[in-house]
């Protein structure tokens, strides 16, 4: 087997696409030369990429510089001849993501230099595209981990623009990771509580799956509330009844104010956001598309209809969605418009068009006029990278947000100021579009925002250019009514069993948690007094933990509700503490007791919640039977 084949074999399990690209690539690889020490080096465009004398010594210097900064991960721009990667691994540093921008270098090096050993390592990833590198970052680097982005001098000189963009993307991706962790930590408990509170609504309203392929060839306009929405509002009004107007809940109020009733409004807010609605009669014509984690008030809102969508990131939903008759999980890019994009494709819409998706600050605003932000003032300090947003909210509240500015490529190629949440959505959309296209999607995906950030992979044109006059004679009401009638029946029996099992498990988890807390407290005292019973106590804790984990594995949502606490625990475990072994063990027992106290408290909290959900399910079941009976009666009466 040749060197290239060996390297490709090592790459394939982690990046099959790169492996097949390399297999069929006819690119002329760089010519590998030998340095005085016999190690490989090469030139590209007259520029040497490694020392011609001793590349290993050079790489050792770079690796030492990296290792002393103690990052958890290193993202390297430029594989070179692999010397730095090898040296990092030699130093014991094995969490590395490498992005090589040049196909010539990739081909030349992998054909002549055997890197299969390092490339096979579990946490070493090689990418040939920005998207793959960023995707590896998002998939494998946790938000809590420290990351170092590194590039050697020849790469800086040879690829100045690519490096700027890469650093920006690395920075943005890592910000995304950190934000995702914090959103997750802050929200999980609310999401789980909302899920249980919405049980009755899941029975009442059909899952959004019922619209699958029901809108084939219908243009969908996904409306965000970015400042540029005003550029499209006039033309959008002419499209009412000719396209599917699918608005984010933040944009609904703006549309209503301008006389446009959106067909669908999507929301998945964990808190009550009644202020997004104006309560004018027209709003009742809207159909809501609500995430299962939405605040119960959203389900209580008076609307023409409601569809439910489930999220795979919630264990409860993954387990129970099929029982509610749903097999569709809306991918979440952090914003409901990202979910709406995927839904529109699931509906069969073509083209799918964004408006009001600036994903960047407007000249002096963050959102379009007429939304929940009544007044806004944006001040971006380009020198310090700080941004200040003063706002007046529709509820009368005022406030200021201070944030770091992140930069995205604008429509004209120049950078536009953005912030972490928009950057997260932007990154998700670009990755999503790339993945869909790779999968053979032929639907036109258009960004007709006419302002803000450029979205790689999407077509950029005006709304008129994207959809023309729309579809003549489109009867969406008929489509929606037809969809609602074709719901898969709810499996009440299985749901009832699932909830009863959860209740049983959380009672058991509670019992075990209380026992572990007592044992950990005893063990701590035993350690302080050098009690010989300590070892026995530790064995008992382990046994109790084992039983608890078995129960928790069947009821994973209980861990989700503890996300905030497990996050703190992770940080505790990660922190370096200048303690002796004995002090460290004492701290650990304290941490164990505190952890299981939380687990026990949380289990106790959810016992009545799950019991309430079971009652609600039974009510819905009875009501469904009554409905069936009425239907049968009406049918026989006629």
């Amino acid at each position: 087997m040749g060197i290239l084949e060996k390297n490709i074999d090592a790459i394939r399990p982690k990046d099959p696409e790169l492996a097949s690209t390399l297999t069929v690539s006819r690119a002329q690889g760089v010519r590998i030369e030998r340095a005085r020490t016999g190690l490989p080096t090469f030139e590209l465009d007259g520029r040497c990429f490694h020392s011609r004398y001793d590349p290993a010594k050079e790489a050792a210097l770079q690796a030492a510089d990296i290792v002393k900064r103690k990052p958890d991960w290193v993202v390297i721009f430029g594989l070179g001849a692999g010397h730095l990667l090898k040296e990092l691994v030699n130093e014991g540093f094995k969490k590395v993501i490498v992005y090589e921008p040049s196909p010539e270098i990739l081909k030349g090096v992998l054909s002549e230099v055997d890197l299969s050993g390092v490339l096979s390592l579990k946490d070493v990833y090689l990418s040939g595209t920005y998207q793959a590198a960023v995707s590896n970052m998002l998939n494998y680097i946790e938000g809590e981990e420290d990351l170092l982005s590194y590039q050697s001098t020849p790469y800086r000189l040879a690829f100045p623009e690519e490096i700027l963009e890469f650093i920006n993307r690395v920075h943005n991706a890592h910000t995304t990771n950190r934000v995702a962790v914090m959103t997750d930590v802050d929200s999980r408990l609310d999401w789980v509580e909302n899920y249980f509170a919405n049980i009755g609504s899941f029975a009442e309203h059909p899952p959004v799956d019922v619209l699958r392929d029901m809108l084939a060839g219908v243009p969908a306009v996904i409306v965000g509330a970015g400042p540029s929405l005003m550029k499209n509002i006039g033309y959008l009004k002419t499209l009412k009844g000719r396209v599917l107007i699918f608005a984010a809940v933040t944009a609904s109020r703006v549309l209503i104010k301008h006389g446009i009733v959106p067909d669908l409004v999507i929301s998945a807010e964990k808190i009550d956001t009644g202020e997004y609605f104006t309560d004018v009669p027209d709003e009742k014509k809207i159909r809501l598309v609500l995430g299962e984690i939405s605040h119960p008030e959203a389900f209580a809102r008076d609307a023409s209809g409601k569809f439910v969508f489930f999220n795979a990131f919630l264990n409860l939903s993954s387990a129970q969605a099929p029982l509610w008759g749903s097999t569709y999980f809306g991918p979440s890019g952090g914003s409901v418009t990202t979910t709406a994009l995927d839904m529109a494709l699931m509906f069969g819409c073509d083209p799918v068009v964004f408006v009001g998706q600036d994903l960047a600050f407007g000249k002096d605003s963050t959102h379009a006029d007429g939304g929940v932000y009544q007044g806004q003032k944006v001040t971006v300090d380009e020198k310090t990278g700080e941004c200040r947003v003063d706002w007046d909210y529709v509820t009368g509240a005022t406030g200021t947000i201070n944030c770091r500015v992140l930069w995205l490529k604008g429509l004209d190629g120049r950078p536009v100021a953005s912030k972490y949440d928009w950057v997260t959505f932007h990154q998700w959309i670009e990755n999503y579009v790339a993945a869909k296209k790779k999968g053979g999607l032929t639907t036109r995906l258009v960004n007709a925002t006419e302002g803000g950030a450029y979205i790689e992979g999407m077509e950029h044109t005006t709304l008129a250019g994207a959809v023309g006059p729309g579809v003549e004679g489109l009867d969406l009401e008929k489509v929606f009514a037809g969809a609602e009638a074709r719901r898969t029946p709810v499996d009440y029996e299985a749901l009832s069993g699932s909830l009863a099992g959860m209740l049983d498990n959380i009672r058991s988890i509670r019992k075990h948690s209380v026992a572990i807390v007592k044992e950990a407290q005893w063990a701590r005292r035993a350690l302080e007094k050098n009690d010989p019973g300590l070892e026995k106590s530790i064995v008992k804790i382990r046994a109790l933990e084992g039983e608890l984990f078995d129960r928790a594995a069947e009821t994973r949502f209980i861990w989700e509700t503890l996300a905030a606490y497990t996050h703190k625990l992770k940080q505790y475990l990660k922190a370096e503490r200048p303690e002796s072994e004995r002090e460290s063990a004492l701290s650990d027992f304290k941490a164990i007791a505190a952890t299981y106290k939380r687990v026990g408290d949380m289990s106790a909290r959810f016992v009545p919640v799950v019991k309430g959900a079971i009652s609600e399910l039974e009510r819905a079941r009875a009501s469904a039977h009554t409905g069936d009976a009425c239907a049968v009666k009406a049918a026989s009466g006629s």
């Binding site: 520029r47 020392s51 011609r52 050079e58 210097l61 770079q62 001098t153």
Partner: protein, 203 residues
């Protein structure tokens, strides 16, 4: 009429050219001192030290315009050894600057460019000092001046040309390689060729 002193002793002189400069006076004294195995080591005009003895500045002043000119001499050997010491100092500095510059390039720090300029200036100064010393009879037995001076000059020149070419083509690694593996050994060779530092010189 100026008063002229040599090593503190007043010297009688005659301005035959009527309008001679301080420089012409210093040249005349240097000619006399050479016969005695000494060289002019410093000049003061009206209490101010003359910065450069190679011409220009106060040396161009007419003697008639100065009240007092003091000339100091030193043995040829002492001047030569001081010059050799300066070269050793340059060699030391260049060695350190090369190390900083090479690390800067290989690690991609912003200091690399500044340090490279310091290396190039240091090499220039060292070469000029060596050149000035080469005419001094006191250094003719020192290994470097006896055997390898011209070869070393060629080597230095070749390194500077290579650095300049690499700089123009943006080839940073070649700059680092030339500095680390070609220039640094050459500078070390020059330093070693100048012989060990004598204990007396250290004091």
């Amino acid at each position: 009429m100026s008063e002229v002193y040599l090593d503190g002793a007043r010297v009688e002189f005659e301005d035959t050219g009527a309008g001679a400069t301080v420089g012409e006076l210093v040249d005349a004294l240097a000619g006399e001192l050479e016969k005695l195995g000494r060289v002019v080591a410093g000049v003061e005009v009206d209490g101010r030290a003359v910065v450069s003895l190679s011409g220009g500045g106060e040396l161009d002043s007419g003697l008639g315009t100065c009240a007092e000119v003091k000339v100091f001499s030193a043995p040829v050997e002492a001047v030569a050894m001081a010059g050799v010491d300066v070269v050793r100092g340059y060699a030391e500095f260049i060695g350190e600057a090369i190390s900083g510059c090479v690390n800067g390039i290989r690690l991609g720090t912003d200091m690399a460019e500044k340090t490279l300029s310091a290396v190039i200036e240091g090499v220039g100064e060292m070469t000029r000092t060596l050149d000035a010393l080469s005419g001094n009879p006191a250094v003719k037995d020192i290994g470097f001046f006896k055997d390898s001076r011209l070869e070393c000059y060629k080597g230095l020149l070749s390194c500077l040309e290579a650095v300049d070419a690499a700089r123009r083509s943006g080839d940073a690694i070649t700059i680092a390689d030339v500095l680390e593996y070609e220039l640094a050994p050459l500078v070390m060779e020059i330093k070693e060729g100048l012989g060990p530092v004598e204990p007396a010189e250290l004091s």
